[in-house]
Symmetry: C2
Subunit: 406 residues, 2 copies
């Protein structure tokens, strides 16, 4: 028996450059099915569900929807609330009242956990219902997926940023630290490696949350690169932690802010970069040391998007609707790499994704724990999309000296 009723879509967690592609993919695909009566969007994620703050996306023009798809960040707005069972039950009551029969939640592993609770509520209530988790995160830390929508575009931003930084620091010498998002997984920071083209190009050092960060070793690494190259460019994950597993960043921040998930907010402060820069100045005596914290620019910059990421974000939305309408069970959409480079989509159990995180595999990190391997470069390159320009350097020979002849 066909399941007919309303569709509800929500977006959760941190925005990405392509999350609205997924939204548009779900809406446009759902419009093709007579089973999908009306299509609602919840404002501010789960908050909009408990509060019944819904937009009637059935009445959105296709044209504007396509414009929104090209716009970064979450058009339905987002939320950091992590619902407990009572919260999920309240959401479920609202969904029943609005005859929601298809629920799509675009988000990371915390959002998958929410979808899982809602799915269980519906089963217990014997309410005919399909709940699908649709993946999104710049952190690239979802299990079961080769990579996640949103990662490719953020990785492209980081790669382009380090391409420019590399040239800037070479022009004026010195040491540069760029602090990149990534609380537990180093995938985004690792994408900085794509900036290396010519011999001597940075980033020369890459520090990831997957390997313990030791200040003395770090200073030793910086010293040897600086002495040999005259400059040193470093990419650091905001989530780097010491051998005891404690994060370095929060220890250096004046103000520690936690989100609803109990996570310390690491972005939106320059503390980690500034502190590491101070150590380099003080202990290595290098004068020109600069630190930038990429912060929110890297996930919402307008006009830096991977077309591959865009296409896949669109497709996870389309496939989510197909799985919901034609499939017989709830689940999470996952991306499977099927070739070099091609992908397909699967529906995996919610429990396989919910509340669990993936780290960089060992084969992507070098033995010293301060850079990536070619295996990672091979993995990440197609995700950055097409049209990525490459910097060029002068290759003209030196003019023989006259006054200071050797």
């Amino acid at each position: 028996m066909e399941l007919t009723g309303n569709v509800l879509i929500a977006q959760g967690g941190g925005p990405t450059a392509v999350i609205n592609q997924t939204l548009a993919g779900i809406v446009q695909e759902a419009r093709k099915f007579p089973q999908c009566t009306r299509i609602y969007g919840a404002l501010h994620g789960v908050e909009g569900i408990v509060n019944e703050d819904f937009l009637d996306l059935t009445q959105e023009t296709s044209h504007n929807l396509e414009q929104v798809a090209m716009t970064p960040s979450a058009a339905l707005r987002s939320s950091r609330v992590k619902p407990d069972t009572a919260y999920c039950q309240a959401m479920f009551r609202v969904m029943q009242a609005h005859n929601i029969r298809y629920f799509f939640y675009i988000g990371g592993n915390d959002s998958a956990a929410t979808v899982r609770i809602i799915s269980e509520e519906a089963q217990e209530a014997d309410y005919r219902f399909r709940a699908i988790h649709v993946p999104k995160t710049i952190d690239n830390d979802l299990l079961e997926s080769d990579h996640t929508p949103g990662y490719g575009s953020a990785a492209r931003f980081v790669a382009q940023a380090f391409m420019g930084i590399n040239l800037d620091v070479r022009a004026l010498r010195g040491v540069y630290l760029g602090v990149v998002m990534g609380r537990d997984a180093g995938f985004l920071t690792a994408a900085s490696s794509i900036a290396q083209k010519y011999p001597g190009d940075g980033p020369h050092l890459i520090y990831l949350p997957e390997r313990p960060f030791a200040l003395d070793e770090f200073l030793g690494d910086v010293k040897s690169i600086y002495e040999c190259c005259g400059c040193c460019i470093i990419a650091v994950s905001e989530g780097i932690r010491n051998a005891a597993g404690e994060m370095i960043g929060p220890q250096l921040m004046r103000h520690v802010d936690r989100d609803a998930h109990g996570n310390v907010t690491l972005s939106g402060s320059g503390a980690l970069g500034d502190a590491l820069a101070d150590e380099i100045r003080r202990r290595l005596g290098i004068k020109r040391v600069r630190a930038d914290t990429f912060g929110y620019l890297q996930r919402s910059f307008f006009g830096c998007v991977s077309d591959v990421d865009q296409h896949e974000a669109r497709e996870v939305g389309e496939r989510a609707v197909q799985f919901a309408v034609w499939g017989g069970c709830d689940g999470a959409v996952a991306i499977k790499r099927t070739g070099e480079y091609s992908v397909d989509y699967r529906l995996v159990p919610l429990a396989a994704v919910a509340g669990r995180a993936r780290s960089m595999p060992d084969e992507f990190i070098n033995a010293e724990g301060n850079h990536v391997t070619d295996a990672f470069r091979y993995y990440v390159r197609p995700l950055l999309g097409s049209g990525l320009k490459s910097p060029a350097m002068l290759r003209a020979p030196r003019v023989p000296r006259i006054l200071h002849a050797e």
Copy 2:
């Protein structure tokens, strides 16, 4: 009598996204003139001149030169050294030894001051010589020019960044501060205003070095915007100063670094943004407050360039050579706006540009001193170039509530 000899090109000060267009413009144009025997490039600006570190650009392929033109930062590398008269005399001796007859220095107002000293040295020595200053700076603070090459691309980066930030902060609410480069001139920070499209869009507040910054007024501004919009997005120039004219940034930095010009280095630290964010949290009791310092990303980001800026940067280089070969005097190339939008180039006296800086004119700043005017928006828009995308928002109507019916 025609002046025949070698050409020397140098790049000074902070890199830009299009300074290599100017380099390519000079080289390609000089290649057309038989008077220009060989074309040299000094490495690291004035340092490369005293040390005779020259590349023989005559031997650079045109193809690679065009690739370099599309690459941000200074391909000849740069320098922060501010030469005094003795340093300039040493440079002049090297130029004589290499039979340099045409000298082009691409830089800001400090570089113009250097060109002026060299020009005077040559006149005193009765050495037949042409010295031309070619403009470049993201700060847009050169006198005699409507705007400067490099500004348009950096302004485009800032506009695109705030377009994304605006959507990101709207999605998750709260207060956001973006700290933008600009020690004395607010032009770059002001470009953030282009991100405002829909009613309620940020940046809601823009603080510039041209107006005294008072913390209490600032907090009052933030409070009223936040209470009315539920979020507040702020653009702040790194060079904001109090009523006594003292810069706010250095007072908050752990480590104060000065360049050869005696200027405190403001970028490469998150101190200003972090301190202002702390004040907002502490005094206004707003929980979600984030600060990003755009730092070096804004001047060297790879793949964010204004085509108008690119064309003009190329043309100032070409015209510099024409002025040198066909004109009868030294000078600085300046951009004149001749229509809406068209430009032409003039050669102005070096003294009119050297060591002097331009600020935002009063008609570009609102009466409250916390935003820009439409006159500024009209001024800046063409400089950002073509193809600047525009964000889109959903316009679907609300769904009537059932459980929480009003």
